[in-house]
C-alpha cells in the first residue's frame, strides 16, 4: 500500500471514529464533512504538486449536490467541480488531473464516486471560467431537460478552495438569464415538476413495494428533493446566491411575495433535517441511507413524517403556481 492510500484510509478512520460527535445537527455534521474533504484536498494537492508542479493559475474548487448545499447525511457520495482562470490546454489538463486525484482520494476516504459523473475529474465539470460562461449560456439556450438539470446542479455550487467570485458570477449568469426570460424559468421548473407521490388522501404513506427496501420510504426522493428543488427555483427567480436550502429560505423570507409562506416551509424542512439525523444515522451504506422503514417508526415520528411530506407537496404546488403566474 502506498503512503497516499494509507493517508486517505487514516482520514476515513478518523472520520468514522469522530462522526458520532457531530451528529447533533446537520450544520455541525456538514462542517465536519467539509473539514474531512479539505483534508483530502490538502493531500491530493501535495501529491499533485509534487508530480506536476504548482497550479498554472488561480482556481476555485466547489462542491455540488448535498455537499454544496451543506445538507449531507452521514453517508454521501461526491459531487464537485473546478473553475480555473487560464483558458489554456495546459491548465485544463492540469486541473482535470487534479480533479481525478481529489476524486480518488474522496472515494478512499469514504465518499463514493458520483454515478452521474458530476466530478471535477470529468471535463464537463472542470473548465476555465471562460469555458464555463459559454457552457452555461449553451445550457440555457438549448433548454432540454438534461441541460436544465445541469443548471440545477451548478446553482448549488459552494466553493471550498479558492476564490468564491468566479462561481458567484456563474450563478448570477443563470439567475439573470432566467429573470430576463420567464420562459426559461418555466423550463427550469419543469425539470423538477415531476414529484413522486408519497402521501395519499387519507395520510397513508406510499412505500416501496418490492426489493430489499420494501415497506420503506425513499426519504431523499420523497422528502428532500421536493423541498430542495422547489426552493432552488425560487432562489434562482430571486437571484439568491446562497447554496443551502435553509439560507435560501431565510433570504426568501425577506422577499415580500414569499414572506407569508416561508416560515411554515422552513420549519418543516428543519424537522426533516433533524428527522433524518435521528432515524437514519446508522445506515450501513449510501443506498440504504435514503430508506426509512415506516413500520419501525413510532406514532410521533410517523406524524412528523406525514407533516413533512404534506408540507413538501404544498410547497411544490406553491412554487408551481408562482412560476405559472410568471
Amino acid at each position: 500500500m502506498t503512503t497516499r492510500e494509507q493517508t486517505y484510509a487514516n482520514i476515513r478512520q478518523e472520520k468514522e471514529a469522530k462522526m458520532d460527535r457531530h451528529l447533533h445537527s446537520t450544520q455541525r455534521l456538514n462542517a465536519f464533512h467539509d473539514e474531512i474533504m479539505k483534508q483530502v484536498l490538502t493531500i491530493a494537492l501535495q501529491i499533485h504538486e509534487h508530480e506536476y508542479g504548482p497550479p498554472p493559475c488561480s482556481y476555485s474548487l466547489f462542491l455540488l449536490g448535498s455537499a454544496g448545499r451543506s445538507e449531507q447525511g452521514t453517508i454521501s457520495d461526491q459531487d464537485h467541480g473546478i473553475a480555473f482562470e487560464a483558458h489554456t490546454d495546459e491548465a485544463a489538463a492540469y486541473f482535470l488531473d487534479l480533479g481525478q486525484t481529489f476524486s480518488d482520494g474522496l472515494h478512499t476516504a469514504g465518499y463514493p464516486y458520483c454515478e452521474g459523473k458530476v466530478m471535477s475529474s470529468n471535463p464537463v465539470w472542470c473548465r476555465s471560467a471562460e469555458d464555463w460562461k459559454q457552457q452555461i449560456a449553451l445550457w440555457i439556450e438549448s433548454e432540454t431537460l438534461d441541460t436544465m438539470r445541469s443548471l440545477h446542479m451548478i446553482y448549488d455550487a459552494r466553493v471550498i478552495h479558492g476564490d468564491k467570485e468566479p462561481v458567484s458570477t456563474l450563478k448570477q449568469q443563470v439567475a439573470a438569464n432566467m429573470k430576463k426570460n420567464p420562459h426559461k424559468l418555466k423550463r427550469f421548473f419543469e425539470n423538477i415538476q415531476f414529484m413522486k407521490k408519497s402521501i395519499g388522501l387519507f395520510g397513508q404513506i406510499f412505500t416501496e413495494q418490492n426489493g430489499q427496501h420494501a415497506g420503506s420510504l425513499n426519504l431523499k426522493q420523497s422528502a428532500f428533493l421536493p423541498y430542495v428543488n422547489a426552493i432552488r427555483v425560487l432562489a434562482v427567480k430571486e437571484g439568491i446566491d446562497a447554496s443551502s436550502t435553509l439560507l435560501r429560505m431565510k433570504a426568501l423570507t425577506a422577499v415580500p411575495a414569499h414572506n407569508g409562506r416561508m416560515q411554515e416551509y422552513e420549519e418543516a424542512f428543519r424537522l426533516l433535517l433533524e428527522f433524518r439525523l435521528r432515524v437514519l444515522r446508522n445506515a450501513p451504506d449510501y443506498d440504504s441511507s435514503h430508506y426509512i422503514n415506516i413500520d419501525s417508526l413510532g406514532p410521533v415520528r410517523k406524524r412528523e413524517l406525514r407533516h413533512i411530506l404534506k408540507t413538501a407537496e404544498s410547497l411544490h404546488h406553491y412554487v408551481q403556481r408562482f412560476i405559472a403566474k410568471g
Binding site: S198, G200, L201, G211, A214
Partner: protein, 423 residues
C-alpha cells in the same frame, strides 16, 4: 315441443362448451404475458397440450368418477371410456360431456399456473394425468355428481369451489414444493417483483377469460328454460366489473398508483367469486360480491408474498381466495326465490345453516385438493428426482431447456449461439 327444448338445450350448452374451451386461449395469453419472454413458448405450448391430455383422461375415467352410478364415498363407477351413450339428461349427453370436459380442462390449467417458470415438462405431463383422474373428479363428484356435499345442499353453481378452488389448492401444493423462482425473494425475506413481459397479452387474456365466463356460468344452467341463463350472465358481468373497480381503487389508495396487474386480477376475482353464486343471488349482491373479491385479490397477493410463497401468475390470489369467498357468499346472499339448491343465506332469514354448509364444503374440498395434490407431487418428485429444472436451465429459460427453441427467437439469438458454443 319437448324435442325443441332438447335441441335448444343441447345447442346452448354446446355454444357454452366452446366458450369455456376458448378460455384456454385466455389462459395462454394471461400466463405467457405474466411471465418472462424466455418461457413464453413453453407456457403457451404446454397449456394447449395439457388441455388435450386432460381431455383423454376425462374421457377414460374423469367423467365416470364424477357422474357415474354405483358411487362410493369418493367417486362414481360407471361410463368409463365414455361411449357417447344417452344418459337421459334433457339435453344431448355428448354435449353435456364436452361441457364437463371443458371444466376439467380449466381446473388443471389453473393448477398448472402454480408451476410456472420452473417445473420440468415431465412434471406437467404426470400431474395433468393424476390431477384429472384423482383430484378434480372427487371434488366434482362430491358437489355436482350427487356426492355427500350435494346431499347437504352445497351451493356451487358453476364451480367456485369445484373448479377454481380445487385448481388453486393444487397450485398451492405445487408452488410450496417447487419453492420460489430464482430471484423472487431476497435473503432477508423481502420480495422482488418479477414482471411479466407483456401486459397487453395479459389484458387480452383476461378479456378472453371474461367472455368465456359467460359459457362457464350462464352455460351451467345446462338449459334454456325460461331464459334464466340471461340472469346468470347479468350477475356475472356485474361482479366482474365490480371486481375491477374495487381493485383499481384499493391499489390506487394503497400504492399511490393504480396497478395494472391488480386491476386485471380484480376483474378475474369478481368472476371467480360470482361463479358459485351467480344463479342464487340478486344483482345488487353480485356487485357486492365482486367488490369484495376485488379487494381480497389485492391483499391476497400481498399476503402470499409476505408468506414467502411465489405465486407467479396469481393462481392462488385470483382463483383460491376469491373462490373461497364466492362459495361462502351464497351463505350470506342466496335468496329464497333463487336458492334452487340448498337454503337461503344469512341475510334472507336462512340463518347460519347454508353458510355452515358452504364453509364445510370449502374447507373439506380445499383440504382434499391440497393434500391429494401434495401427495401426488411428492411422489412425482421422488420418481423424477425433483420437480424443478436445474438452476442453469431456469436461468436460460424453459423454452430452450425443455423444448430447444425460443418463443421469441430473434430476441434470444445471441444467447442461443453462445449457449450452443458458437464463436
Amino acid at each position: 315441443m319437448e324435442d325443441m327444448l332438447y335441441l335448444m338445450n343441447s345447442l346452448w350448452v354446446m355454444v357454452s362448451a366452446i366458450l369455456v374451451i376458448f378460455m384456454i386461449a385466455g389462459f395462454i395469453m394471461l400466463e405467457a404475458g405474466s411471465t418472462r419472454m424466455k418461457n413464453a413458448g413453453h407456457i403457451a405450448g404446454k397449456t394447449a397440450f395439457t388441455f388435450g391430455l386432460a381431455s383423454l383422461v376425462f374421457w377414460a375415467v374423469g367423467f365416470a368418477f364424477i357422474f357415474g352410478d354405483n358411487a362410493n364415498f369418493f367417486v362414481g363407477m360407471s361410463n368409463f371410456f365414455y361411449s357417447g351413450a344417452d344418459l337421459d339428461l334433457g339435453l344431448s349427453s355428448t354435449v353435456f360431456f364436452v361441457f364437463q370436459l371443458a371444466f376439467a380442462g380449466i381446473a388443471i390449467t389453473i393448477a398448472l399456473g402454480g408451476f410456472a417458470e420452473r417445473a420440468k415438462l415431465s412434471v406437467y405431463v404426470l400431474f395433468t394425468i393424476l390431477f384429472s383422474a384423482i383430484v378434480y373428479p372427487v371434488v366434482a363428484h362430491w358437489i355436482w355428481g350427487g356426492g355427500w356435499l350435494a346431499e347437504h345442499g352445497k351451493q356451487d353453481f358453476a364451480g367456485s369451489t369445484v373448479v377454481h378452488l380445487t385448481g388453486a389448492m393444487a397450485a398451492l401444493a405445487a408452488t410450496i414444493l417447487l419453492k420460489p423462482r430464482i430471484g423472487r425473494f431476497n435473503k432477508d425475506g423481502s420480495a422482488n417483483a418479477i414482471h411479466g413481459h407483456n401486459q397487453v397479452f395479459t389484458s387480452l387474456g383476461v378479456l378472453i377469460l371474461w367472455v368465456g365466463w359467460f359459457g362457464f356460468n350462464a352455460g351451467s344452467t345446462v338449459s334454456v328454460d325460461a331464459g334464466f341463463f340471461g340472469f346468470v350472465a347479468l350477475n356475472t358481468q356485474l361482479a366482474a366489473g365490480a371486481g375491477a373497480v374495487a381493485a383499481l381503487i384499493i391499489s390506487w389508495v394503497t400504492l399511490g398508483k393504480s396497478d395494472i396487474p391488480t386491476i386485471l386480477n380484480g376483474a378475474l376475482a369478481g368472476l371467480v367469486a360470482i361463479t358459485a353464486s351467480c344463479a342464487f343471488v340478486d344483482t345488487w349482491a353480485a356487485v357486492v360480491i365482486g367488490l369484495i373479491a376485488g379487494v381480497l385479490v389485492f391483499y391476497g397477493a400481498k399476503w402470499m408474498e409476505k408468506m414467502g410463497i411465489d405465486d407467479p401468475i396469481f393462481a392462488l390470489s385470483v382463483h383460491g381466495i376469491p373462490g373461497i369467498w364466492g362459495t361462502l357468499s351464497t351463505g350470506f346472499f342466496a335468496t329464497p326465490d333463487l336458492a334452487a339448491v340448498g337454503r337461503p343465506g344469512l341475510f334472507y332469514g336462512g340463518g347460519f345453516e347454508q353458510l355452515g354448509v358452504q364453509a364445510m364444503g370449502v374447507f373439506v374440498s380445499g383440504a382434499f385438493a391440497f393434500v391429494a395434490s401434495f401427495v401426488i407431487l411428492f411422489a412425482i418428485k421422488k420418481l423424477l428426482g425433483g420437480l424443478r429444472v436445474s438452476e442453469e436451465e431456469e436461468i436460460m429459460g424453459l423454452d430452450i431447456s425443455e423444448h430447444g427453441t425460443y418463443g421469441y427467437p430473434e430476441v434470444f439469438a445471441d444467447t442461443k449461439s453462445k449457449a450452443a458454443g458458437d464463436k
